[in-house]
Structure formats: C-alpha cells, structure tokens
Symmetry: D2
Subunit: 298 residues, 4 copies
Amino acid sequence: MYRLSEREWQAYTEKYKDRARMLISCPDRPGIVAAISHFLYQQGANIVQSDQYTTDPETGRFFMRIEFDLTNLEERCEVIKAAFRPIAESFDMDFSLVQASKRKKVAIFVSKEDHCLLELLWRWKSGELYADISVVISNHPDMKETVESFGIPYHCIPVTKDNKPQAEEEQIAAAAGADVIVLARYMQILSPRFLDDYAMRIINIHHSFLPAFVGAKPYEQAYRRGVKLIGATAHYVTEELDAGPIIEQDVQRVTHQEDVETLKQLGRQVERTVLARAVGWHLEDRVLVYGNKTIVFP
Amino acid sequence: MYRLSEREWQAYTEKYKDRARMLISCPDRPGIVAAISHFLYQQGANIVQSDQYTTDPETGRFFMRIEFDLTNLEERCEVIKAAFRPIAESFDMDFSLVQASKRKKVAIFVSKEDHCLLELLWRWKSGELYADISVVISNHPDMKETVESFGIPYHCIPVTKDNKPQAEEEQIAAAAGADVIVLARYMQILSPRFLDDYAMRIINIHHSFLPAFVGAKPYEQAYRRGVKLIGATAHYVTEELDAGPIIEQDVQRVTHQEDVETLKQLGRQVERTVLARAVGWHLEDRVLVYGNKTIVFP
Amino acid sequence: MYRLSEREWQAYTEKYKDRARMLISCPDRPGIVAAISHFLYQQGANIVQSDQYTTDPETGRFFMRIEFDLTNLEERCEVIKAAFRPIAESFDMDFSLVQASKRKKVAIFVSKEDHCLLELLWRWKSGELYADISVVISNHPDMKETVESFGIPYHCIPVTKDNKPQAEEEQIAAAAGADVIVLARYMQILSPRFLDDYAMRIINIHHSFLPAFVGAKPYEQAYRRGVKLIGATAHYVTEELDAGPIIEQDVQRVTHQEDVETLKQLGRQVERTVLARAVGWHLEDRVLVYGNKTIVFP
Amino acid sequence: MYRLSEREWQAYTEKYKDRARMLISCPDRPGIVAAISHFLYQQGANIVQSDQYTTDPETGRFFMRIEFDLTNLEERCEVIKAAFRPIAESFDMDFSLVQASKRKKVAIFVSKEDHCLLELLWRWKSGELYADISVVISNHPDMKETVESFGIPYHCIPVTKDNKPQAEEEQIAAAAGADVIVLARYMQILSPRFLDDYAMRIINIHHSFLPAFVGAKPYEQAYRRGVKLIGATAHYVTEELDAGPIIEQDVQRVTHQEDVETLKQLGRQVERTVLARAVGWHLEDRVLVYGNKTIVFP
C-alpha cells in the first residue's frame, strides 16, 4: 500500500518530540502575554511561533496560540500544566497544552459517497494529516474493503427509523476514545447527547457555501438558483442544523453549461479540499471557537 | 482628464463598423445552425465567433450567440433583419441583431457609496466599457462634481417617503432612452412599472454572495455568521427582492480578524469588479436570460 | 473496491451511444460553418453544442468543436467521415470525428510520487474520467499493489543510464495502442522518437507555474525566490523541456511561513487538480493545438 | 470631490492616537518574547495583536510584529524607544516603533498608464490607505489635471537619454521627505544611488507573475507562451531588474480567446489590486524584509 512507512512517522515524531502547543482564551487585560512568555522562559522553553487575536474592545476577549520547544517535554508536560494553573486562574484563562508529537485519535463517519473519506485517507497515508485514524463507521457496507486495505477497522452499523438510539449506542462504542469525529458526508442527524459529548469536536462537511442552501439537496438548489459559484463549508456540528461555527469554506466557478450531475462532480473536489483543510487545522490545534465563530490561527 | 480620446473611440468604432452580433433563442430541433449559417453565408457574412448552448433534452431550448463581419453593415442591417424574419418565424425564434459599433446608452443610479460608480466611469474612460454613459441619477448630491468632471450630466432627485412616485417619474424622464440601467449601489426599491419597462435591462450589484444574506446589511449578517469568504452578486432586477437572474458572482477570503468595517472595505473591491464584469458582458450582448437564470457566452 | 460498477459505465455508454464530437481546423474564410452545419443537417444530426474560435485576421485560422447526436452513429460513423471528406478538402481542413461513447485508451507513466496517479485513478473509478486506463508503467515497483487493486496492469521497467533505449522499447511495447500517455510525475526524459510517435498525445504535469522555474526542483526555486503563489502546469510534451503547449495551470497562495516541504505538500494538491482537468479535457476532445498554444473549448 | 472629509481622517487619528506598532528582528534564542512583553507590560501597554515568525533552525532568525495601546503615546514614544534600547542591544535586535496615527509620506511615480495611480488615489480618498500622498512625479504631463483635482502636487519631470542624472536630481528633490516611493507603472530605471537612499522603501508593480516574463513587454511574452493565467507582482526595487523581494502577487484566468490587448486590459485589474494591497501592507508596517524575501504579517 501507498502508506507512509512506520519509519517516516517515527522520524516526524522524533523531530517534534519536544514541540508543545498552547491555546489560551481569557478576558483581555494588560500583562497576559508578559505573564505567559515569562512563565515559558522560566521553564526553558523556546517559542517558535505565536499568534494572538483580541476581539473588539466591547467584548474584549484575548486568544493566543503558541508553539514552543522544551527539552524533555514528554516527562515535564504534566508538571508544567500544573505550574501554569495559578497563572491561568489569575487571568481567568481557558487553556490547553498538548504535545505536537501525540497523534490525535480520529473516527470518521461516512455514508455512501466516498470522495471525502478517500481524500482524508490519502492525505493521512502521505503524512499530511498527523493522526491516528482509529475507525471508520458507516451505515452502509460499501467501503469496507477499501478502508480495511488502509489497515483501519470498519464498522458497518445500519441506521433505520426504528433502531436509531441503539445504532447510536453502537456508534459511540465504536468511536470510543476518539479526540475528534469527522462526518465525511455522513447523511444522518446525531442526537443532542452525542453532540454534547463531542462538543466542538465533530467536524462536518456541508456541500454548499453556507448559509446559502441550508438543508437537503444543495446542488439541486444551486442549480435552480443559477449561481455562478458553488461551494462547500466545513463546520463544527451543533444542534441547529448547518448552523455551527464555520472552520473553512471555498468555492468553484461554474457556468450555465453545468447540469446538476456536473455540479455535484465539481462540488466533490471542493468538498474534499475544504474538509481536509479543516481537519488538518483542527489536528494542529489551530482552531478556537468563540461564540458561533472560529478563530483559525495561521 | 484621463479619458479615452475621441480619436481612440473612433478607431474602435471604425475597426468594428462591420461587426454584428446575433442572439438567438428557440425550441431545439435539427437544422437550426444550418439554417442560420446558410443565411449568413448567402449574405456574405464571415462568422468570427459563435457559441451555442442547448438545455437538457426535457426542456430542449436552443441558445446561440454569433459574431460576424459583413461589408457595409450599417446600410444593410435592417434589410438583413427583415430577410431573416421568415427563418426566425419558421423556427419560432426570439432573435436580436445589433451592430457592435453602436454604443448602448447607459444610465447609472447611485446613492452615497461611490466605489461602483467610479469603477464604471474609470473603465469607461479607459475604453474597457464601450458605451455612452448618458446620465448619472442619484438621490444625493454628493457625487455631482465628480460625475460632471467626466462630462456626464448628474441628476440629483431626492427620494423621500412622500415623493416616491413623483421622484420615479423624474428618474424615468432623466433616464429616457437608456438601453440599460445600472444600479451601482442604489439603495432604493424601484416600482413594478419601472421594472417592467426595463425588464432584464436593469443590473444591480448586491453586496453578498446570493442567496446568502438576502436583504439589508449583508456584511453585518456575514460577520455574525462568521463566514470565511464574502462575496458580491450582479443580477438583473425583478420584482422579488435580490432574486433576479444572476449574471456574475465572486468572493474574497476573510478571516476572524476582520471586523464589519473591514469586511465592507474588502467587499467594495469585489462589488466593483463583479458589477463591472456584468455590465461589460451585457454591453457586449453576451448575456441571455432563460427562466430565472442567465446564459453568459464566453 | 470503490469503483464505478460496470452497470454504471454501460449506462453512460448507452446514454451517449449516438453522440459524436467533431474537431475542425482550417484557414478562415466565409462559408465554413454553413458548409459543416448543412452537411450535418443533411445527415440528420442534431447539434447539441458548438464552439468556434478564429485567430486574428493576419493569421486567420478557424477552429471548431461540435457535439451532435445522430441515430445509429456506430454503424454510420465511417460512412459519414467519408462523405465529409470532400468538404474537408475543399476548405483545406484538418478534422476528426469521434464517438463520445468510445473510451480512449490511456497509459500512465509514474515514478515514485503517487498523488497524481491516485487522483487519476480515483476520478476514473468515480466515473469522472471516461476512459480505459490500460496500463501503468513505472521505473519503480512501489505502486504495483495499489494499481493492481484497481484492476490495472502494472509494468515496472527500471530505467538506468545504461539501459535507456532498451527500457524505452519495453515502455513502448507496454503502452501499445494507447490513445494518450499521461506523465503523472514521471521524472525521465523521453526520446525524440517516442515524442514523435505520440505527438500532442503525451500530457505532462510540471510542478511550477511555467514558464517560471523551468527544469529541476521548482519548489526549491520558488522557495528561494520568495513567491507568494505556487503553481502547476499541464502541457503537451515536446522536445524542448517544459516548453510544450500549455493545457491548464493553477496556483495556490503561500506565505513566508511555508518551508520547502510544505510548499511541496501544498503543491501536490494543485498538481493533481491541474493534471486531472487537463486529462479530462483531452479525453473529451476539448483541446486543439495551434502553434505552441492550445485552444481549450468550454 | 469624493474625498474622505478632514473630519473622518481626524476620527481615525483620534481613535488610534495611542496605538503603536513595533517591528523586531533578531537572532533566535529563548527569552525574546518574555523580554519584550515584560517591557511593554511595565510601560502599561496593552498588546492588541502580535505575530511572530522564526526561520528554520539553521538560519534561526526571529521576527515579530506587535500592536499595542499605550496611554499618552505621543508624548512617551521617544522615551519608550530609549528605554527599550538596552533590551534591543542585549538581543542584537533591529527594531522600529511607530505611532499608527502618524501618516507616512508617499511619493508616487508614474508614466503614461493611469490605472495603478488612480487605484491608489481612490483608496486613499476613501480612507483605505492611511497616508499623506505628498506628490505625484511623472515624466509625462498627462495626469496633471487629475492628480491636482485630488489636491496633490504634480511634478512633470521629463526624462530623456541626455538629462537622466539631472532629471533624477529633480525627482529626488520633489520626493524629499517621502517615507515610501511607489512606482505605479513608472517605466524608467532608477540609479543605484536613488535605490540606496530608499532601500526597501521603493515599491514597484511588475505586470507579470514574476519570475516569469522578466523585463519588457510581459503581456506579449505571456501571449506568445500561451499561459492560462496572467499575473502581477509588487516588489521592493533593488539594483537587479525585477529581482527584489516580492510583497504580493495575484493572477487572473485567461483563455485562448484573449489577444495581447485584452490580456493588458485584464492585467490592469490585477496590477492595481496587487499594488494597492502591497502599499497598504507597507503603510501598516506589516512587511519585513529578510534576505531577498518578505515576511508579511497578517
């Protein structure tokens, strides 16, 4: 198979074994950056990238993403978190500190369309998505052979009107331990409880430029409206359909010549690109959610 | 002034004095192209470009745009139209035949935002829009001096709640003879009667990627939704607000950093580009309306 | 496997069994369109799309692509070609007439990079490239398993300094009968004789926005120059390296943050998109070569 | 005239009177961010945005841009600079500290093409370019009236083979005090001495996607090569022609239909957009030069 060799994964893991990423969000006030960077300096960290964003003065919220290198990160990570806690509390911060070399566990849900799934698998195998794809869950058996050829377990859990709650129990069990769930054209609604368990950790691809063409059959809607661009939107899933925080969007030019089938075909390219970008940014801890919006650090 | 000299206009007019454009629309059936091209050949025409589009078999409608050169077009144009009429009738065609060297008369409506107006004036003066801009009509006096510096009459017709019908009478009088009306960020609703008089000859620029953010304050809506692309849409105006046939759309990437003011500023660049393209295509007879959609020939 | 079922291919083949495509190129003069369309009308054809382009008056060359439907095309195709020949001769035309339902045979050459190959295979299996991929030829064994899992023969023909002519003989034998050869990141120079046999039927993807960064290591060159966009170019291969007629190009925005490895990774997405588009257009007979340029009909 | 009222400029100036921007570049090592942010905190500054970039470990150079608010900035600016100097020295920093409310002085050079000049003037008058355009210098008289209608002095300094050194003396005198010089399609070479005086403060727009089509007549070159995208490049001017650090680039899709004149026309839109973006970023102190490349902070 065309997979990244274990040797190559290990080279990456080795290269970034001392690389940490810190995400911070708190009310804005003077001294935040000074406190954080002083703390990191004391720990012996070398900041390799940092980006900061403050919302408008009225709402006044501060967001930061820092990448730093720190010798023996593996052993010291928990100690550092504990040592940072008092600073976090004094500034009323939400914060996370993760090791860049730890692969996040990804569970992918899919129905019958395979293009988004294959894009993710392909980028994963070529080393562009640094993650463990722990399972693919589908309500159809169609992609079992393909997925398993990548060495990934495939759970076919049919969903019908009658078995929905039970099917979801099985899905939750199959996805157990996932850090993030990707709906790669999964055409079923998840229950509020499921959404709550994975709040801002479920990424969906919607096959339109939201908020245009919310709901079903967006390409049919786009065709009828005669738009000159079609698009796709990757967003975190919330209870309100197609209304969660948008992570990424892109578009593709079309003309009067395209029928619905061709729109779908062109749209597939945008869908898989947009979803792969959004998943990549999430895996690299570049996305922070603020209200119903995302901050995507470069 | 930075205008195309009269000498340059004349060079263009001279170069294309024998260039004609024919737009045809009819039910699809065999023999249409043969009939048209045989007719043109008999007249001595040389076809320099032709494009054709047929809708799906169910609706089965045929659309064509032909550019051809014909010696002494000016004198022969009406005769040719008359000679073509029997063919048109036998195929149940709608058709138009225009001389490329005849400048269409354009009336521009504007409120307080000047960027779309200036883009049109600038492209006109640099020879990119081959037209006569016969008048600019506004409900505000602000741009009088600028417009007149281009040698174009400026009619300031204030519109209030009370004088709407009368103001529109004045507008109609001021625009008399216009082949096309461009709403270059004109923030007033036109009456059904006005729309009817200029059916598919009024081009509006809407400051969003329609059908997203229909109605007022689209940039505020886009900001609240947290989209990653903002857009603009040029469309023919129909009675239903922001729902007419779309001529052109484009988008601009934005990030979480942009506030509403910056979205508006970035949006202005897209708006003026999209409107200028749509107006240019209309002036070159590239746009055919079919149902609520446009066919834009390349 | 995630392949288009034979049933779906057959549906396509059935749907377009009477669809023909005609490509014509000749010196410009009045009456060409009339002659062609009259001929097709006499044969009972219904033109469903036609596009025409004439170069500037000095060079005066006429190009046309016509799609038409004709009952019993399969049986009548050769007869029609013969019947058209006198017209073609009288206008000094080059012309081709192909059945849309006939799948072209494609041979793909690849070295070690798999992204362009996989994109083609994926689009082929999903029905976006209507073709027979008859063989994949490589100078490395790496992708044998993947290619064979698509049901396609894989020929590993190692190329060294010493065995070049002999290796090429083997390649030519392996590719025998191919209508088009695609170099999907194949990093070896082909001999003039090979190029001659497949003139304007070998499509290469170059990993830069040509003519910038001709030759080896374009991403390294782009990195050193500090460009803000990277690109890819699909072109027909001619004897002069990276100088053949360009079919398609596209770009991707980059920033100072990207190192060479990231440029390559981002570039891979552009490369595979650009190559897949170019191959698709070639398969649909949309590309005509004129001098060192292409005409790509919409 | 359609200008930003003095009242609006003042509103901006007032709003940002306490906003400072700091640009820093130094060898990378731990503690830089801590030292800077501690210093700013001590001064009572509130950091509103900060972005940092470190080159690869081998070259190891650190770059940072910080925006912060500080009460009474105007009075305290010089004192703060002096107080920061010891820190700067201890880290071997290059640094600059500017007040966001201070408008930079811009001198624009232009020849006969007016589109880039007009775009800059339009954006300036609409408040998108916060600067003082102190003078427009041209080797032709053509745009005198237009420029003066914006209230800007126009110096026509003809340049011939014989008077080059003397003409440049006049240009230097006319531009005296400029913080940045913009070559808005100025088609003359500047002397090494001139370039040296304004090192990395002269922005040129080149009408191609550099490094493709270096030198004269890029659209003619692009037409002959048959590219499918044309572009423009804004860069700092250095002694080697068209080889200075690139600030911004963009492209526009074209087809076989476009002749050289149409390429130029389409190219004008890209040129003016790209130049205006680059000038805007320079005015907002977003661009740092590193070797022959730029870092453009978001």
